[in-house]
Amino acid sequence: MADNKMSTRDLRAYFHKVEALHGVTLGFAANRVTAIIGPSGCGKSTLVRCLNRMHEVVPGASCTGQVLLDGEDIYAPAVDPVQVRRRVGMVFQKPTPFPTMSIEDNVAAGLKLNGIAVSRAERDRIVEESLRRAALWDEVKDRLKRPGASLSGGQQQRLCVARALAVEPEVLLMDEPCSALDPISTARIEELLLELKENFTIIIVTHNMQQAARCSDFTAFMYAGDLIEFGETRQIFTTPARRETEDYITGRFG
């Protein structure tokens, strides 16, 4: 895996004194979907939140070790977390459209932070492109001025994807993006992943093994804060190397 877009080295995360990740070393291939699976509390969400320095937003949270993005450590002292988050976008479990903004304002929300003032036309172009990429354009193009909260749950989640894409991140983190959605919306998001990976590196946390099986290229299995196994998804799901993975995947736990 020479072309890792991101990687972690001996990443340890803490909540106050408690170590939640016990030294994870892992690479995320560029333009691939990497799924992180494992039982509740295994640290998969914590791991992914360390990748764009959202972990430290939680009071009392800290981490050690390295997280490399294109070979640069995002935890180096000179690095501004705000800049990291621009390059590593994130979509959360629950859809989080800004309720006071219209659909297009939601998508353009990140642009305002972008610094360089964008022209109206440029902004419209970016909004359209982002919505297209998030496979939402056709559904909302006639009501861009309507509030983002007027959309259905699945649409809201795709709106959040569009919003994250509008700032042109290189990596997209998704923290259980479908756990609040019904099967149909879930299927839409899963399909979206396939298209997005052509342009982005995607890392998705899911507690749904089948989802990881369906839509990821690589799978990492975590347990109790340790990375137990990492490999190609088809290998993990047909011939896992570790007994723990095997047990989890075949439903023998505890």
Partner: protein, 229 residues
């Protein structure tokens, strides 16, 4: 829900299913050609072609492994159910038959090479006919599989009797040859084996057809509207 058959919302799944389908069809095509080539090499006493055919069996084996892997991957990654599941499990079983048919074609070629080293015992009449029937049985059984066509599958199963009849006829005929002239015994037994191989091939085709019937059987209680593609 509208009336056109909706696609899978999971495109990757859809593609993998389609890949399996076309892979199986392709494998069927190769196997059919193996039978035809094997018989041709026998009838036309073409040792070179026989050798080529034998070599080509590696491809069949490779495809067999590949199809199995596809099936297992589909099962592991996409948790198919209902018609998809029946399709995949049947596919998993059919590959074995197709691979064995390929093996039988190889066996025919081996006998052909041996036979080509000696003068021809008699002109082949029944053997090519048998081969042709066996070959169409293979083709039809696969078609039946792809189309969930129990009628066609039933027909294939019935055609097996014809092959058995021909096999017996050839056996009788060869027995008389051998009885008349013990010199012919080695050649006759070889032809006997070829006939046996063809019968085997027909058996495998019958087996595929039976599995198709079994696969669809569960759904005979169903309205006949289901699955067109």
């Amino acid at each position: 829900m509208d009336n056109s058959l909706p696609q899978h919302t999971n495109r990757q799944y859809e593609e993998e299913l389609r890949g399996l389908r076309s892979g199986l069809l392709k494998m069927g095509g190769v196997v059919e050609r193996q039978i035809a080539d094997a018989i041709e090499s026998l009838v036309e006493r073409n040792t070179g072609q026989a050798r080529e055919t034998i070599e080509r069996d590696a491809e069949v084996n490779r495809m067999d492994t590949e199809m199995d892997e596809r099936c297992i991957r589909l099962l592991a990654l996409h948790q198919p159910a209902a018609s998809d599941l029946r399709f995949i499990t049947t596919g998993l079983k059919i590959t074995t038959d197709l691979e064995r048919i390929g093996d039988n074609a190889v066996n025919i070629c081996e006998r052909a090479i041996e036979l080509n080293e000696e003068p021809q015992l008699k002109p082949y009449i029944d053997i090519p006919r048998m081969a042709e029937i066996a070959q169409t049985m293979v083709k039809d059984s696969l078609d039946a599989f792809m189309r969930d066509d129990t009628m066609l599958a039933q027909e294939v199963i019935e055609r097996d009797d014809e092959v058995d009849r021909l096999n017996y006829q050839i056996y009788r005929e060869l027995l008389s040859y051998m009885a008349e002239d013990p010199q012919t015994i080695p050649r006759a037994t070889r032809i006997l084996f070829v006939s046996k191989y063809l019968e085997r091939i027909a058996d495998h085709a019958t087996n595929i057809a039976e599995m198709v019937v079994y696969m669809v059987k569960g759904s005979t209680i169903r309205h006949m509207e289901k699955k067109k593609a």
